[in-house]
Symmetry: C2
Subunit: 294 residues, 2 copies
């Protein structure tokens, strides 16, 4: 199977899992389920669920039900986008080429749709039937910690908001990105390992991979925001600069940022050495993260 086929197949099973777990638009109260589904099925690249499944595959190929655990990462990611886009936060009208959730459903429903996806993610983890309760509990802890305030996604978001008024330094940049996007990408890989029953040594290698691939993802994201047009990105480009966000190009310049992304790719590859050929997909995904154009 080519990487392209592999990714398409994975996206398909994740989308099916999301379809199963998120109440249908016909279920009362209809509005909130429409709002949740609008953003969940708005053409996301499913990078977090794919990382989760690919990491699981390294340890235990095709572990039954892994797509359900992976889908919870997309719920968390989508909730964070809906809340980030709100007028009180980034005030974005456009996301993936579509009107943002609050532009379509209003602010009240967008706030509640985010809350609902966050809540549903933990419900789904507690209902996973193909693994034991100890693993379910570890998955809840992993996802909650990565989403929380101390070194997690919300913490990074707060640093980011407060960073808009501060001098961009390498330390601040690292702190923001390690938390804001890094923590959930790292958790994506680790949740795959937990689901598949990885050993401590395997978890350590997967964690290192997740950290380097995650950092590469954010560096490339910042570079793309600076280089690409709004049309290609499907969101308002150059916005980081306009909002005085702290980015890798702002701190290190464009050329050095590209070199850093390359270095993270190499480190991500190196972390996979112990897995031999079984690490091929994760290696290819690291390449995809660095070489992507949008």
């Amino acid at each position: 199977m080519t990487l392209k086929e592999y990714l398409a197949a994975r996206i398909e099973v994740v989308d099916q899992a999301l379809q199963r777990w998120v109440p249908a638009e016909s279920v009362e109260p209809e509005t909130i389920h429409r709002a949740m589904r609008y953003s969940l099925f708005a053409g996301g690249k499913r990078i977090r669920p794919i990382l989760c499944m690919a990491a699981s595959d390294v340890v235990h190929p095709d572990a039954p039900g892994i797509e359900d655990a992976a889908a919870t990462l997309e719920m968390i990611h989508t909730y964070s986008l809906i809340h980030d886009d709100l007028p009180a936060l980034d005030n974005d009208d456009l996301r993936r080429g579509m009107a943002t959730n609050h532009k379509v459903f209003g602010e009240a429903m967008a706030i509640l749709a985010g809350d609902s996806l966050l809540t549903l993610a933990f419900q789904v983890l507690s209902e996973l039937s193909e693994i034991g309760a100890e693993q379910r509990s570890r998955l809840v802890l992993e996802l909650a910690s990565a989403s929380g305030t101390v070194g997690g996604m919300i913490g990074g978001q707060v640093h980011d908001i407060e960073g808009e008024r501060m001098t961009p330094t390498a330390e601040l940049l690292e702190k923001i990105h390690r938390a804001k996007t890094g923590a959930l990408l790292r958790a994506s890989v680790r949740m795959g390992g937990i689901y598949a029953g990885a050993s401590a040594a395997e978890m350590q290698a997967l964690t290192a991979y997740g950290e380097h691939a995650g950092l590469a993802f954010q560096i490339v994201d910042d570079i793309l925001d600076m280089e690409e047009s709004s049309a290609a990105l499907g969101k308002t480009a150059g916005k980081d600069l306009a909002q005085q966000k702290i980015t890798f190009p702002a701190v290190y310049g464009l050329a050095e940022s590209k070199r850093m992304a390359e270095e993270e790719r190499q480190k991500a590859h190196a972390a996979l050495e112990r897995f031999g050929n079984h690490g091929t997909r994760l290696r290819e995904i690291a390449d995809l993260i660095v070489d992507r154009k949008s």
Copy 2:
């Protein structure tokens, strides 16, 4: 121990649990932890944690660590208040006699503080060390379901928002309250049972108690909103009427609403019969819910 002493002691241990689990204001990023703590320690009556602990006591007196599980209910309740008070939702400036979270910390931080408390609740459940993983997993499921869109708290909130434009009927009223406040109060009692290892028959009795006590709570809440002054309530009174919210007095009138609260009290008491003297505290708490003046 009198009921008053019992409640004071319980509030004390719940507050200590919250102090342990919520990062200190000195932990980075400080702002979000200040915002979370501001609303958590704003003088809440801790009715949900108290119900949880009292239910647990019926089955297994003083189960070690029960206050940690109970504290997660207060996190969920507080998150829901912070988000409900936002300008896009109820737009309230005053809560428990204090400025609402977004008035003090701004809308962005209030949204994130709510998200953080919601996330932290599940993290805490996954870290409970005095019970087995199977119980932790059941607690996550119970709390997530009660907080979610289908028959849970968010679903009730959506019905409530949409109900403002609809004719108040008994059916709509029941649907809103069963979900909006009823589900979490019911879950409070059930989580106590799960924590203490209740049998199926015990769970059934506790669930019935939780449903009747929960309905009584909401009826009395609606009556108080209509009767009491803003000063006594610590929030803007008569607001339900101004916003055309569907309430028990609006549908049934004041006298009939009072009779209904009384009936729910009796049913809550009846559900406790199998517990004999062990049910005394829960009986007293049902009385407190119905007889309270604020």
